[in-house]
């Protein structure tokens, strides 16, 4: 029996989700970058609020990303110290 469109959509969504999950397992970096940018959506307004309007919204978002990059570098350096043979 031919599936109706309404029945096909959930199947396609599930297949897409499974595909994405498999791809992200192989290459986790894009997911992490995306999650970091999402986290910046929380961080940047905090920076903006902390500077009390002295900087613009663009500056706040840029500083948020810079802070995340700095934290990521620190985590990377910790990882090198704890598991140097990986590098």
């Amino acid at each position: 029996m031919k599936l109706k469109l309404i029945d096909e959509i959930p199947v396609q969504v599930v297949e897409s989700a499974v595909f994405l999950r498999d791809e992200l397992r192989k290459r986790p970096l894009p997911l992490r970058l995306f999650l970091a940018l999402c986290f910046n959506l929380i961080l940047a307004p905090t920076v903006l609020a902390a500077t009390d309007g002295a900087i613009s919204r663009v500056n706040a978002y840029a500083l948020g990303i810079l802070a995340l990059v700095t934290v990521a570098l620190a985590i990377y350096l910790f990882a090198v110290m704890l598991q140097p043979e990986r590098f």
Binding site: A54, I55, V58, N59, A62, L63, L66, V69, T70, L73, A74, Y76, L77, F78, V80, M81, P84, E85, F87
Partner: protein, 702 residues
Amino acid sequence: MTPANSSTRTPSPSNQSPRQPRQRTAKVNTSGLYNRAIRDAFAKLNPRLMVKNPVMFVVWVGTIITAIVTIDPNLFGPSPGHNLRLYNGLLALILFLTLLFANFAEAVAEGRGKAQADALRATKSDTSARKVLPDGTIQEVSSTALRRGDQVKVIAGDIIPGDGEVIGGIASVDESAITGESAPVLKQPGTDIASSVTGGTRILSDELMIRITADPGKGFIDRMIALVEGAERSKTPNEIALTILLSALTLIFLVVIAAIPPIANYSKSPVSIANLISLLVALIPTTIGGLLSAIGIAGMDRVAQFNVIATSGRAVEACGDINTLILDKTGTITLGNRLAEEFLPVNGHSAEEMAHVSLAASVFDETPEGKSIVRLAEKLGATVDFDPNKAEGVEFSAKTRMSGTNLPDGQEVRKGAVSAIKGFVRSRNSANSDLSELDVAYERVSRLGGTPLAVCRDGELYGVIYLKDIVKPGIKERFDQMRRMGIRTVMLTGDNRITAEVIAAEAGVDDFIAEATPEDKIDVVRAEQAQGKLVAMTGDGTNDAPALAQANVGVAMNSGTQAAKEAANMVDLDSDPTKLIDIVTIGKQLLITRGALTTFSIANDISKYFAIIPAMFSAAGLGTLNIMGLASSQSAILSALIYNALIIPALIPLALKGVEFRPLTADQLLQRNVLIYGVGGVIAPFIAIKLIDMVVAGIGLA
């Protein structure tokens, strides 16, 4: 066969002559090396490769951020200063050049290794081989079709198709393709040291039956190629320790830099992101971070240039920390071609009688010592008066310490260690054993530093053969060098105590062990290691394999058995046991070079503080620290970073060549290196940064 030392030596030219200048592999073709290195320097900017070097990866991230603020200088907030785009662009360019120079250093080191690998590959050729099938017929196959366990026949003029063990025949082999030594080497089966052949070498005369011991791509030349190419290079323990230190320093400075903006803003002297990144790059040890891998690769190349195959960089590094060197006497400390010099008859026998019995005892002895006894006996008119086909040869063993012949008429003639022959004689003729003359002859030979071999027929002693051995010229000076470096030398020999003492005193070793059995070798290694020492030893026989495996650094001779080569972590293609001394020197040089450049890199920071900090915080009153009198804050920062970038290519030659090795004590070395690289590392940047600042200000860049 001699009982005195269980590893006998086939006399080869390299063992017989005084120490020759080191034979190297063929000169490699380095044309185009720098062009390729420049291309590779750009290719190494790939983040997947940069992430393996933590210090340079931080510089890489800093470069990208600086490039971004070149496009929009106020991206992270209002930035003080003028001509910010030009200034930030210059900073980004200098940081980019820092990365390129570091990658270039690594690429040059790798390029030299690749050129060496290409030269080695040229010695390999896809040759045809005469494979011997199970039914005895011969089939022509390609050398790449051969597998471990196959048997091949090679005749005069053929290239040996793969690494193997000689199981039949006797021939001269030209090993110059891999060792550079043009004098041929005799290969024959059954001996511990002359039965191993390497693929790519050429048979000059006669023929050999060879059992292949390595699959294609797994032979010694292939391992050497992989080693010098760096394809299988992983970080050594010392490199890992240094990487952890550099990462820790980088992390500390990253945290410090990250803490500066709030403090700077509070004190009303805000600092731009570009300046913060500049300060970070100036503080982190970029010099040693950029040169570390080049030093390691160059060290491995130096080992390969000495015709030594090391299984890993770890083995080369371990050489640098060696405390004790265990060396055989015969062939290592002495020339090794012990030849029969004289017959000393005892108990009323004449020299001719003794020659006759000695000849009978040596007729099945294929060793050089045995053949020299035969020659000396024949000079005295001795002949073989029995049918060798009806006689039975008795091989030497480390347990019996004697060899000989069981004659067709039932008599047993033996030659060997004096104590072993005494026991043999007593067991055959306990009532009439007059050993006093034997002891006198034995002592006389021993005091001359020779090896005494007693000869008997059944229960009758005939005398002592004097085997002469000569200490290699120049060996005493090398051992003095080792002593100054804090390395203790121990001589192991199966010879008697008196002979060992005489040779040890002449050669200048620190200690010796006489009448050593193969089990003693591993016991000596273990005893030294139990005291916390790192032990290096050489060996070539199957009975050396356990000790080679136990030692921290085991160097097997290429002419040795497969078992020895598999047990060791280095193989010397020249089969020169004294090469261990050169390898220890290279290992020490590697560690000293790393230490010196690390000291220099960290010492540089002091002068960079005096350049950048006053420039960045002049508004906060730190301008008085501008002791170099730099033109402006921008020129100071630019000058410090330009120096930071230029010092990397300036130190490439030192990194690749290595700090010159001096056989000094540890304290003297430390004092010397702290003076040159520590104090020099503080003073040199002051001068260099000032000069660069004058140029920068003069051009009007800042």
